[in-house]
Symmetry: C2
Subunit: 218 residues, 2 copies
DNA sequence: ACATTTTTTTAGATCAATCTAAACTTTTAT
DNA sequence: ATAAAAGTTTAGATTGATCTAAAAAAATGT
């Protein structure tokens, strides 16, 4: 069984490797975990010893099949807990992350099964991110960033790429949430900012950065 | 903020001291936590340094006012989580303890407030133990062990003294649960075992040990 | 009362996770 | 091509939690 710390490293590496596709550099991991490269090297060795990563000195870490499976279980737990916090306890979506970071490490397969059932077997968390199933299978969601959508084409916000609390608060403020209907009315060539209409009612101007982080389905 | 381990020691000491009344010996703590006396001595010193215990060498540990307050917060969290597990996730009452042991260490006052609300501000957990409120106040429950009840007097099971899973399973099997109505039909002088009727229907013979661990209100 | 037993504490070791500083690779720029 | 810069690993230290073994204090029995 993995320690709290090992689970966190594995999850971070899974994320940085974009689902196990690329190798990840020591410094990337160190930065993403706010720790030092030396600590990362130690942990990479440890996780390699457990066959969760493959490791070649000075090259970086690559997640293995079983590492990926374990990472997906942690992500599954994280997203189920976020769903619980928002839907049942009425947390706002920018308050859930830190608590879910702790809850995801609770060890009890029975608990997760029962929680999943209690929530009605959800397939996406409050940020729109897919929830891997018991076997680690990720429901595939076909989405594009709002920045790549066409003018006057109706779309539904399905998720956000990066869920920093400040970003989520900003979205709330301008009336954007998962499930909101958005349509681009105008694109400014100069800075790629957009004017959009939300839920056929309110208009808002959003920057290129925001548009690239908002994922939509059409 | 206390570590996972410090919280566990504090909780154990609170229990062993019967709510902060008595001093507790090193070996008692060691046994109750399945650890060694040497480790206990170290931890007692640490917690004394934080003014959660008062400590005199070779005499034992006494919990302080602020130690009691912290212990009660951990107990509050534990019992709220047990209530959640049984009432919302439909765990059976003998399955909840180990999971609640983990959940009680999650650090988030907001989470506990929201969980409390979600559960409807319960005052007792599934074992009938009182849940301290936000300020550490424990609702007082006036109960006696079934072994001290009179013959032919109706009573309601309100809690169990010690909730070992095997004991709880045994109670389930003979049809006893929190809220069950019990009445003593006959006492055997020889071994103090009892014949009882449960919910005005089924009869059962229970030993003195069991009767001492079953708490009732009349 | 005092020798024996029990309990508790201290001393010193280990393990996981972390760090800093130094050494070592790899990459980059001229 | 090679010197400088950037990135990575190693060596050695630290902290928290734990242990064993030895020393010290308290309790017990005759």
């Amino acid at each position: 069984m993995l320690s709290y710390t090992e689970e966190n490293y594995l999850k971070a590496i899974y994320r940085l490797s974009e689902g196990g596709v690329k190798a990840v550099l020591t410094n990337e991991i160190a930065e993403s975990m706010s720790t030092k490269a030396a600590s990362v090297t130690d942990m990479i060795k440890k996780l390699s010893g457990k066959n969760l990563l493959s490791y070649e000195k000075y090259y970086g870490a690559r997640i293995t099949r079983s590492g990926k499976a374990q990472a997906l279980q942690v992500i599954r737990k994280h997203r189920l807990w976020e769903t619980f916090l928002v839907e049942k306890l009425h947390f706002s979506w920018d308050e859930v992350h830190d608590v879910a970071e702790q809850l995801e490490h609770i060890q009890s397969p029975l608990l997760i099964e029962k929680l999943d059932k209690f929530l009605g077997y959800p397939t996406a968390d409050p940020h729109g991110h897919p929830i891997p199933d018991r076997d680690g299978k990720v429901p595939n969601v076909n989405v594009i960033p709002l920045s790549e959508s066409a003018l006057n084409k109706k779309a539904v916000v399905t998720s956000v790429k990066h869920g920093a609390p400040s970003f989520l608060q900003y979205l709330s403020k301008i009336g954007i949430y998962i499930g909101a209907k958005v349509m681009i009315l105008h694109k400014t060539e100069f800075d790629s900012s957009l004017e959009v209409v939300i839920d056929n009612k309110n208009r808002a101007f959003i920057s290129r950065e925001v548009a690239e982080n908002l994922l939509i389905a059409q």
